[in-house]
């Protein structure tokens, strides 16, 4: 952030008639509880807007949007984690998330000028919509962000893990008719691709092409859970709580939740001491290699994880193994689960950033891989150089001997 505060920006000629203000963070609650991702989003929003406040304007705020029932006491918590204001819509109909109902209310709030007046009088006359908007990139947030931005008719980048606000210069056939134009206060949204090796920066920009002028605000994104750090909570932080009376649409309310059950996923990464994960290194003989991994898992009493490419079912293998291990629920990484076991064994995993993000908190990491140049080498404590076909049988045998010795001793 330091580079933002040091930069002095040329004034934006269009700034006087700007009508997009503030950063709105859409909070996700489950059974009245705030999920960790909310504090991570607020942390990043706080850091970005601290820089923004120094560089551009001190009057633009971090605004949390909370929908729920009997949750008003949580608003203070959101303020202590970095929000300047919380817009809180309370209604028994908002107890549980229903996409059409939530989409309508959040869009109303985004368009509400009176609401913005209570947050900051400064820009309320010309306020049209938020400048930026954050959602959580879990399934609920991804769907919600998509429908809200379809309603607001603006752009959305999904699954973001880095954000920068800056002025940019752009020459674009459709956006600027091929002319160089300066876009001020632009949110650069970084998105890792499915391989985890490429980063795409996505921008949401107004069309300034004379034949197709169109304003696209808010600039919105969904944020991968577990990526950003929350700020240290400060109970003395001051903030405004705006109670919002939502207008509910009777058609939307015809969607009824009949029943809601909480189930524990059969895959349990949390209570196992060890996790064995495998990736595309099983390639040469998938069936036999998964059998080896299965044996290792049983030897260690471990849970099994996979890398993202594996979940796309790239191999022709027996149905029992396919349904047991080749599933999206086992993916460890930014598109799956974040884990922190005592022992993590990465077998045939190259270590794409998106995988590393999901396992780097593990206490001790062992990698088995023939290629000492793979990125996983920088993320492990022991790197066993070799093909899993060769290494795993030796390792399993040695583990059995260790176990036998322990049994003899006792």
């Amino acid at each position: 952030m330091s580079n933002i505060s040091q930069l002095t920006s040329t004034p934006d000629p269009k700034a006087s008639n700007e009508h997009y203000r503030h950063l709105y963070v859409v909070i996700e609650q489950e059974e009245g509880n705030l999920l960790p991702v909310n504090f991570e989003m607020l942390g990043e929003a706080r850091r970005l807007m601290d820089g923004f406040n120094l560089r551009y304007s001190a009057e633009e705020k971090v605004v949390a949007i909370l929908l729920g029932n009997e949750m008003r006491s949580q608003c203070d918590k959101l303020i202590s984690y970095g929000a300047d204001a919380v817009i809180y819509a309370e209604n028994p109909e908002l107890t549980y998330h229903r996409n059409p109902v939530y989409t309508r209310v959040i869009s109303q709030i985004a368009n509400d000028r009176d609401c913005s007046k209570k947050i900051s009088a400064r820009y309320s006359e010309e306020f049209k919509r938020p400048r930026f908007m954050f959602f959580s990139a879990d399934d609920t947030g991804r769907h919600l962000s998509a429908t809200v931005l379809a309603e607001l008719e603006s752009g959305l980048a999904s699954d973001i893990n880095k954000l920068v606000i800056d002025d940019i210069e752009l020459k674009h056939e459709h956006k600027t008719k091929g002319q160089v134009e300066k876009y001020f206060k632009t949110l650069e949204m970084y998105r890792p691709d499915f391989s985890g090796f490429l980063w795409t920066t996505i921008l949401c920009l107004d069309n300034r092409h004379p034949n197709n002028m169109r304003e696209y605000h808010p600039q919105a994104c969904s944020i991968i859970p577990g990526v950003f750090q929350p700020v240290e909570p400060d109970n003395n932080r001051k903030g405004v709580i705006v109670d919002y009376k939502a207008t509910l649409n009777t058609d939307d309310l015809r969607v009824k939740i009949l029943n809601r059950r909480i189930v524990k996923s059969p895959i349990d990464f949390d209570s196992h001491k060890a996790i064995v994960s495998f990736g595309r290194g099983i390639n040469d003989s998938p069936e036999e290699n998964i059998a080896l991994i299965d044996t290792l898992k049983q030897e260690l009493g471990a849970e099994v994880g996979v890398s993202l490419p594996i979940s796309k079912k790239p191999y022709n293998i027996s149905n029992s193994r396919l349904s047991a291990y080749i599933t999206a629920e086992r993916v460890i990484g930014t598109s799956g689960r974040k884990v922190a076991p005592t022992l993590y064994i990465a077998v045939g995993i190259s270590g794409a950033m998106q995988h590393i993000a999901g396992m780097k908190e593990s206490e001790f990491v062992i990698a088995i891989n023939p290629d000492t140049n793979s990125p996983i080498r920088d993320e492990c404590d022991v790197f066993i150089k070799g093909r899993m076909e060769d290494v795993l049988p030796i390792l399993i045998e040695e583990l059995r001997q260790q176990k036998a010795m322990v049994e003899v001793r006792s």
Binding site: E30, L35, N99, D139, R142, A146, L149, A150, S154, G155, L156, A157, S158, L170, E173, H174, E188, P192, F194, S195, F197, W199, T200, T201, C204, L205, N207, H209, N212, R214, P225, R260, R261, I262, V263, S265, N283, K312, P314, N316, A328, T342, I356, I366, P370, T372, R377, D378, E379, D381, V382, I384, K385, D390, V391, I394, E398, L399, Q402, V406
Partner: protein, 295 residues
Amino acid sequence: MKSSRLKISVIIKLEPDFSEGNVSYNSDGTLNRAETKSILGPHSAVASMAALNAKVLYDADVSVGTMGPPIAEQALQQSQLLCDADELHLYSDRIFAGADTLATAEVLRAGIDKMHNGEKSDIVFSGHRASDGETGQTGPQTAWKLGYPFFGNVIDFSVDVENRLARVTRLVPIQGLYDVIEEIEAPLPIFITIHPSYKPTFTTVSQRLSFFKCQKEARDRAALYKNHLKTYTAQTLGVDPKLVGLPGSPTIVYRVEKIPRAKTSRMAKIIEGSNQDQIRAVAKKITDMIKVKEI
């Protein structure tokens, strides 16, 4: 003439084939698009199976549509083989190229409005997310533009055709805490994305007979899929060229770069996989670490 049959629509996508032997990766781990074949995406295949389920259970009419280059016909054919579609739509126009999700949703919205001779669809299915783009946004955005309530992660559904009511079961993972299974009732029309774990089941004999009949019909139809295919351009769809393709996309890809390696957080001890003594030391370390304390 207005038909009283249930009208099912499916939107699908041609995607890179990630299966062994077909997918090709560059040496840096990124996808080699030139060498990788394309197929009906796996999530689109699941959505097609859900449509077949509706056809078998409720004797529905099924339409399938996709936006893409002419080669995307292949995906329509593959989908027809799965769902015995009565009608296939290809939305293909140079000006659609480069569309982001909002501009794609605009084309799909217009396309779905043209399905079933312009009558409103009762249920629209789409896949969970594309295997290449992976945003999962196009489905919900299309739903919103159609004005249909959206339900994601659907693992089961049933329809009360007479009362025009649907019941859907959703599987919603709550970030690392637990999963929620939610049962919802909603009046038709609805838009749903099908969860990858969805499996259609046919319990009664008559359902199974009907399933086999549809499968046979699907094979016959897919062999001559062009007879069922209609291709639309921006003009014949009647979309505003300013709302589709690159001109209609709020977002642009500004930059693509390699993700730099994270700072090394551990110092790896490197050992040879063939060195049994060293592996023994590792096995001992592992055993100590995961030892369960005896009481």
